[in-house]
Symmetry: none
Subunit: 123 residues, 4 copies
């Protein structure tokens, strides 16, 4: 499990974990029935609170990506990776839209917004 935490990021730690595990599942690096590391193991590995890892796992479970067996551990559920990709695209779309709307609210021209976007994509 190569999970990288950026504690100075504005994105909450638990969300960073959720995002990365989702992607691992979609990429096939985590397959159906694979066991995730235990809450305590991962928390020690990442040097964060076990409660934070648990919150991430809870989110994954409530979204259907994992199933937790009491006293045994957390396992990757059967997933439709196509569906997951769609979901992630929707999330990206929402983020992009919000950024664009903010730019327009600031009175920045669409041309300038496009230029900025392309600059970032190329950089």
């Amino acid at each position: 499990m190569k999970i990288i935490i950026n504690s100075s990021s504005m994105v909450p730690i638990y969300e960073q974990i959720v995002d990365q595990i989702k992607t691992l599942i979609r990429n096939g690096e985590l397959k159906e029935s694979d066991a995730l590391p235990s809450v305590r193991t991962l928390s020690k590995e990442l040097k964060i609170s076990a409660l934070t890892v648990k919150k991430a796992y809870d989110n994954l479970e409530s979204e259907g990506f994992t199933v937790t067996v009491h006293g045994k551990g957390t396992y990757v559920a059967a997933t439709n990776t196509e569906l997951l990709l769609e979901e992630q695209k929707k999330e990206l779309e929402a983020d992009l839209e919000q950024a664009i709307l903010k730019g327009r609210r600031y009175g920045i021209s669409d041309e300038d917004i496009k230029s900025l976007f392309e600059l970032i994509m190329e950089g």
Copy 2:
């Protein structure tokens, strides 16, 4: 002063006020030496706490957009609108970059990200 508050947004109310007043200043709808509505007036108008409006005004003052005279009111300071535009562009850039990085972290191809962006801009 047409300020619109979205109380269900994750963006704090005081920040929404700050953003909108900054934009009003940059657009020339609020000119140098113009008086902002008093803290109490605006708080009644927006049906929010006076403290929340004050926090917004404090932020504007500490960033140099306004000057406050005790017992008199809050006024638009002399500002370099060029500089303000740059600042807002930087904010937009940061937002866009974060969205793009998230998309890539999700394993979405750059082509797909570009398509999504253009779709939103045209829609």
Copy 3:
């Protein structure tokens, strides 16, 4: 009446007026029984609110420097200029003491405080 208002100063306007009139009295530029300008006249001259001038005059009267005759105006009272000088010295002493105490609270050495003081006196 040469009164100078610094509206960007931290010292309240009414206090600036009080201070300057006190000094005019002590220097003999305003003598016993001299009439002060009317509240409205002075407020127009200084381009400030009449209420602010009134507050200054009220202060002067309550400290015994002036007497106000209803319907006529405000006049300089009989004063002991020696006493006034003492009072002003005490005020200066209090201000200096507060500044010095602050410096010491900041952990600035007495030598540095003295150096600063002399620098200002000479500059």
Copy 4:
């Protein structure tokens, strides 16, 4: 954390806290990465509102003396204590200058002002 609040002072409580913490940092009693007491803890200790403590902490952070991590706490930032000393000296200088100017405005001789100053320093 020995912080002393003088609630009858004209100096706002939050500013008293800011001043004293700045000094603790400059004196090395608070070192880089040290945790400040939590907002709630300090507010109980000083028997003041949590909001007042938070306002102090916000000020410290916006001036770069501390960093706050959501859900974790407030920590002393890496600071240039030399720079801080300079800043505090400037503040002292401004206070002394204002006192001296007031004395001169009162027509008190420079010799008298110096005498007063030395008396206070020795006392």
